[in-house]
Amino acid sequence: MTNKHLWHVTADELQAYVADVAQTLSAASIEAHLLACADCRATLATVGRSAESTTEAMLRTEALWARVADRVDEPRRPLRSSNRTLHVSLASPPLLAATAGVAATLLVAVGVVSVVSPHWSFPVQLALAPLAPVVASLVAFQPGVDPAGQLAEATPLAGARLPLLRALFATVLSLVSGIAASAFSAMPLNMVALWLLPGVTFAAIIFASATVLNPTRVAAPLMIGWTVLVTDWSRRHRAVLTAETVRNLLTNEAALGWALIGVTFAATVVVYRRRDATPVWRL
C-alpha cells in the first residue's frame, strides 16, 4: 500500500468512530481521511469486527454479499424473459435475424409493389405468406442456430420441441408483419390469420421431413411451387382480384384439402420417425 499520508488514524480513534462516540470534528476528519487512505480503511475493517465476534461479522458480510451477488448474477436483458418460447428464440441471433429479415422483405416488397403496381400488391403478399414459417422452420434446424451448440442436443427440450418453439415465435411475428403489410395491400385484417394457413402447412411438412432429409431440399420446391401457383392464379383472376376471391382461394375445398393432406402426411412421418427424432441428415 502507498504511504503518502503523514499521519494515520489510531486504532483507538477508529474504535471511537466505529462506535459513534467520537467528537463531531474528529469524526469528520476521520471520514475525510478514510476517503483518501486505503491503509486506514483496512484497519477499520478489523476494528469494526472486534465489536462483534469474527464469525458473526463474516457471516453478516457474506450475507450482504450474497444479496449483492443475487442482483449481479442476472442474465442480460433479452435473456431475462421468463417465457420459454421467448427465451429460446431471443437467445438465437440467427433466428432473430432471419425473422426480422423475412418481416422486412414482406413489408418492403408489398410496400414497393403497392406503389409501383397496386394491382399486384395483393398477390405478392399472398405469395410471401408462407415465407416466415418456412424460413423459421429451416433456420430452427440449422446446427449453428443454438447458442449452446451441441450441448443443447442432449437436453430435454432438444429434438422437435426446441425448433417448434422457435417456429412458433417466428410465425407469431410473421402474423404481425402480415398485419402491417395489409396496410399497403387491400387484404382485410380478418384474412390475415387465414393467410398463415399455407405457411403453417408447409412448416409442418418441413418439420416432418427434417427427420429424414435435409429440410432445405423440401422447403425450396414448396416455396417455388407456391409462388408459381399464386402467380398463375392471379393472372387468371386479374379482372376480379378482390378480397372475396382471395378468401375463396384460401378456403375452397381443394386448398383446404391439400392443407389437410399436407398436415396428415407430416403427422404420419413424425409418428413413424418418432423413434429417431434426431435429424438424420445432420449426422
Binding site: 442474465p75 421468463s82 420459454r84 427465451h87 449452446a148 451448440g149 442436443e153 437436453t155 423413434r275
Partner: protein, 284 residues
C-alpha cells in the same frame, strides 16, 4: 436390475466405416474411463450414451429405458449431463448467460432456482470471478469449463464427458477431478480420455476400445495386471519390443515379449493400454 446403462450388440456405421462393431458393455454407479486411440469409436460410444445418436443395430438402455422411444428418451435426458467433444458455444454470450440458457433447456424454470444452480456449477468449475465475462474473452481452458459447467447442471444421474481434460492445464485438470468426484456422489460418470493417469486418479472401471471393439473392460488394477511380465527396463529402446517409451530417469520401458533375463518391472495402466492397442490380438 440396477445397470445404469447397457449396450447389447451395438453397431454404428458412418458411410462405409464401422465406428462401433457389435459392442456389448454395461456399467453403473462409478466413474468409468473410456480409453482408446483416435478413431477407436470413443466419441460414438459417448454420443450413444448422450442420446444424440441411435445405433444401427443392437440396443442401448439407459436407466433401463430405451433412448429410441420418444417419451423414454425425454425421461433419460432429464437426468443426463452430456459434454460433447466440441460444443460450439456462442462466443458473444457471457458464461453466465450461456449456462443459464442451457438451464432453461434443462427445464429449470424457476428463476431464483435457476440462478442458484447456474452459480453453483460455475463456481464448481472455478469460474466464480469470470462468470460474467464474454466467452470470447475467456481462454480455451476456461471455455471448456463453461461447457463442463453446463453439463453438470441439475446434478445428473448420468454424466457423459467426451474428453473433458482436452485443452486444460494441470491446475484446471485438478479442478476437473474435483468436479468428477462431486458428480460421482449423485450418479455415474462416463468419461473418455487420452490420459492413462486420469484413469488411475479417477476411475473405478475402465474400458479400452480399439477399432470399434472392446479390448478390455474391468478395474484399472486388472488392466495394469494384463501387462504383468510384459514390461522390462533397458538402457535403450529394445528392437524386439512392441512399444518403447522413456521412463524419465534415462531408462526405457519396453513393452512386448521380454527376452530371457530382462529386468521385469511392475506394469502401469499406460503400459497395459499401449500393449493392448499395439498387438493385433483377440478381445480380452
Amino acid at each position: 436390475m440396477d445397470r445404469e446403462f447397457e449396450f447389447s450388440g451395438v453397431s454404428k456405421r458412418f458411410g462405409t466405416s464401422r465406428a462401433l462393431d457389435n459392442l456389448t458393455w454395461e456399467g453403473s454407479g462409478q466413474v468409468v474411463g473410456v480409453l482408446g486411440p483416435n478413431g477407436a469409436g470413443k466419441s460414438t460410444l459417448l454420443q450413444l450414451l448422450g442420446t444424440v445418436l441411435v445405433p444401427d443395430e443392437g440396443g442401448v438402455r439407459i436407466f433401463g429405458l430405451d433412448p429410441t422411444n420418444f417419451t423414454q428418451r425425454l425421461t433419460i435426458r432429464r437426468q443426463l449431463g452430456y459434454l460433447p467433444q466440441t460444443a460450439g458455444l456462442y462466443l458473444g454470450f457471457s458464461a453466465f448467460d450461456l449456462v443459464d440458457y442451457v438451464a432453461v433447456l434443462k427445464e429449470i424454470n424457476d428463476r431464483d432456482l435457476r440462478r442458484t444452480e447456474v452459480r453453483r456449477v460455475l463456481i464448481a468449475v472455478g469460474l466464480e470471478a469470470d462468470m460474467h465475462r464474454r466467452i470470447r474473452k475467456l481462454s480455451g481452458g476456461m471455455q471448456r469449463r463453461v461447457a463442463l459447467a453446463a453439463s453438470i447442471l441439475g446434478r445428473p444421474r448420468l454424466l457423459v464427458l467426451d474428453e473433458p481434460s482436452a485443452g486444460l492445464d494441470p491446475e484446471q485438470r485438478l479442478r476437473l477431478e474435483s468436479v468428477v468426484h462431486l458428480a460421482r456422489t449423485h450418479g455415474t460418470v462416463v468419461m473418455s480420455t487420452h490420459h492413462a493417469e486420469e484413469v488411475t486418479a479417477l476411475c473405478q472401471q475402465v474400458l479400452v476400445l480399439d477399432r470399434g471393439q472392446v479390448r478390455f473392460d474391468g478395474t484399472p488394477t486388472a488392466l495394469a495386471a494384463t501387462a504383468t511380465g510384459r514390461v522390462w527396463l533397458d538402457d535403450q529402446a529394445d528392437p524386439r519390443a512392441l512399444r518403447s517409451r522413456g521412463s524419465g530417469n534415462g531408462e526405457v520401458r519396453n513393452i512386448g515379449s521380454p527376452p530371457p533375463g530382462a529386468q521385469l518391472v511392475e506394469p502401469t495402466i499406460e503400459d497395459a493400454y499401449l500393449l493392448l492397442t499395439s498387438e493385433p490380438g483377440v478381445p480380452a
